[in-house]
Symmetry: C2
Subunit: 199 residues, 2 copies
């Protein structure tokens, strides 16, 4: 009785598999949003890396223990925290290229969409952990550079190297945006999987 008015989900699936017909999300196309977010993630990761790598500034400062002044350059590779940041965001940029291609392949061939989505969630969550921790690491060290720490006698850096610190701040802000994008991407993939469950 129920089989006549309600279509069997298994039957629909086996019929829909051969031709790449409708995308996985019905009411609005999740795959297109997914691709757009991944392209945005790529742009954010590349921006963060470029802004961080170009954060170079040379200032004439007094050398320690003497009154002699000399030009000293500040660059991101002076701190392991910023090297980790650049590495993590570079990996995120590379990852976003690969997953954008995979996401486009879902649009072209939606047969394996669910399996792809599952792998997207697993890898997006891992990448979120890496990008969020890198943002935190760089942010923590940059904050010490901005405010100093009188308890351990770490002096401020940003009152001298102002342009350098503006680069750091912008790069960290963009990386934070990339983390938010990864959260949204994970939620979108999970929601796409959730919508496939028959109600």
């Amino acid at each position: 009785m129920a089989s006549t008015d309600k279509p069997d989900p298994e039957a629909i699936k086996s019929e829909a598999l051969p031709p790449p017909a409708a995308p996985p999300c019905r009411s609005f196309n999740c795959s297109y949003v997914d691709v757009a977010l991944r392209v945005l993630l790529f742009a954010a990761a590349v921006t963060a890396v470029v802004v961080m790598v170009t954060a170079k500034q040379t200032k004439v400062v007094p050398l320690p223990g003497s009154s002699v002044t000399a030009p000293v350059e500040a660059k991101f590779s002076d701190s392991p925290a910023f090297i980790y940041f650049v590495t993590a965001l570079s990996v995120a940029g590379l990852y976003s290229i690969l997953t954008t291609l995979a996401s486009v392949s879902i649009i072209l061939k939606p047969a394996y969409a669910t399996k792809f989505l599952l792998h997207f969630v697993f890898s997006d969550v891992l990448m979120l952990g890496i990008v969020a921790s890198a943002t935190g690491t760089a942010g923590g060290v940059a904050y010490v550079g901005l405010k100093g720490n009188s308890h351990v006698r770490w002096g401020k850096v940003c009152n001298v190297y102002d342009k350098f610190c503006r680069h750091l701040g912008s790069s960290i802000a963009v990386a934070l945006f990339a983390s938010v994008l990864l959260v949204l991407l994970t939620m979108l993939s999970v929601f796409s999987i959730y919508r496939k469950i028959p109600k």
Copy 2:
């Protein structure tokens, strides 16, 4: 024809809803694993917070600009990075209590399991972002304390405050473990949702 030998998933669902019969995962019980991981997350978060808060050490060190020595105490609240760390891990601990209760309620009443799982994923991902960034922030600042940074003349701290730094290191390691638990919890919830899709 197919409806006679294969049971309709919708029919099963509507029949299974009233009595809390089988848990969402069939072959092994995901809900019990979920509860266990959340209890472990609670233990990890509490351990990280307690070890960080008890990281206090007093040493007699020379005061800056003079040869006079005085006892100076190092504590976690000397650095905003460690305050953020304690706040984030406290929130994670509280969150783990709430979600453990929610996860137990799924075992007792599996009718709304899928909706709960969806909310679990969304909140677990957010919590992962917070815990991972807090671990990164504390780790970045603790690393500067361990190695110093000659470029910006930030001296080492851990050669004097050895016990303090051991506490920091242990706390950050436990927080890293908590981040891994959150990744596993997200994956488990997503996989539980994925398994509900009829093949």
